[in-house]
Symmetry: C2
Subunit: 200 residues, 2 copies
């Protein structure tokens, strides 16, 4: 392989290889894709990277990503500012938006408490959340952190912090996924679904 | 989702989504990875794309990728110029190089004959191969096109073209992969392995 080292190509492969979920073979495939782009396309790709990086920052209120001062949700007058849905990442907020069911606002923590990875409450956007709650307009905070140990720990931590402030703290329901197969549901999920059963 | 459209981010996601084997979710993940890069890293990534695209072109002799006039294999005095291994893509040549067993040179066709995809002999680097053979130093051409219908068709086409020129044309052996499980080998491969059996 050493005999065939094309330096600019190797550098590009390395860049792709650093990305999450991309191994050496895939990185190669992506690098060859880039080589086969037209000059204009390559320039568009390259500038899209710089552009996104330069223009996107956190919304002043909810810490979600935006290229404006406020994100569209915080800016919108149609959204219910008295409800905040706390999520771990901007993608989680997007997933919630995709349901078209949620009318409130978001707060993006940018992570979850994870002592193993050395991520404590101070590394998350919790200060910013408390500042929002301090303004007094918020009546409910919905914990929509991931159903993992870290996500649950974060939700528990926040709920202990917020409840004394007299704010209603809720958590997304656990249960069997719609369209799933009961037979393949894991025990914990099934137990939670049983626990949270509703009257028909 | 429409409410949460961050234009520069969407543009970046679109760029990633165009890549082979990358769906919307993965493209999103990659775009977020880019956002989390430092400014320097993002610039390195961006310039690696432009760099690779600008500097890399085909080797004048074998049509493999290089940033020089000749690729390292064609330039090397240690390689046997009388043997040419014909491959479909630069990655195939890299795979051959990785064996550390091949001492000859390569010729990269940049594709295979595929009437379904409207790729004929004229779309491949066959003219360039014939020009090399015309110089008269080549004694053997090894067909290392992929073991697919297209690869086989290309190998057959080339062998018919080259044999009248008095050049020995060989093909990589078909057979069971080393470390594989006979039980899981497909019938065609197994039949070929039987056909090509060697005396022990």
């Amino acid at each position: 392989m050493a005999g065939y080292n094309v330096a600019p190509l190797e550098r590009l492969v390395e860049q792709f290889e650093k990305m999450p979920g991309i191994g050496y073979k895939t990185a190669q495939r992506l690098a060859y894709y880039v080589l086969n782009l037209s000059k204009t396309e390559a320039e568009q790709f390259s500038s899209a990277i710089i552009d996104a990086h330069d223009k996107i920052h956190y919304c002043k209120i909810c810490c979600n990503l935006t290229d404006q001062e406020l994100c569209p949700v915080c800016k919108s007058e149609k959204r219910d500012k008295s409800i905040i849905c706390v999520v771990e990442t901007p993608r989680d907020a997007m997933a919630m938006e995709a349901t078209n069911e949620y009318e409130g606002t978001y707060h993006v923590l940018h992570g979850a408490i994870s002592p193993l990875n050395d991520i404590g409450p101070d590394d998350l956007k919790i200060k910013e959340l408390l500042a929002r709650l301090g303004l007094g307009d918020v009546t409910e905070v919905i914990m929509a952190t991931n159903p993992t140990v870290e996500g649950d720990a974060t939700a528990m931590y926040l709920s202990r912090l917020l409840k004394p402030m007299g704010i209603k703290v809720t958590r997304l329901a656990y249960g069997i996924p719609v369209g799933g197969d009961l037979e393949y549901a894991d025990q914990v999920t099934l137990a939670r679904a049983l626990e949270g059963r509703n009257e028909l």
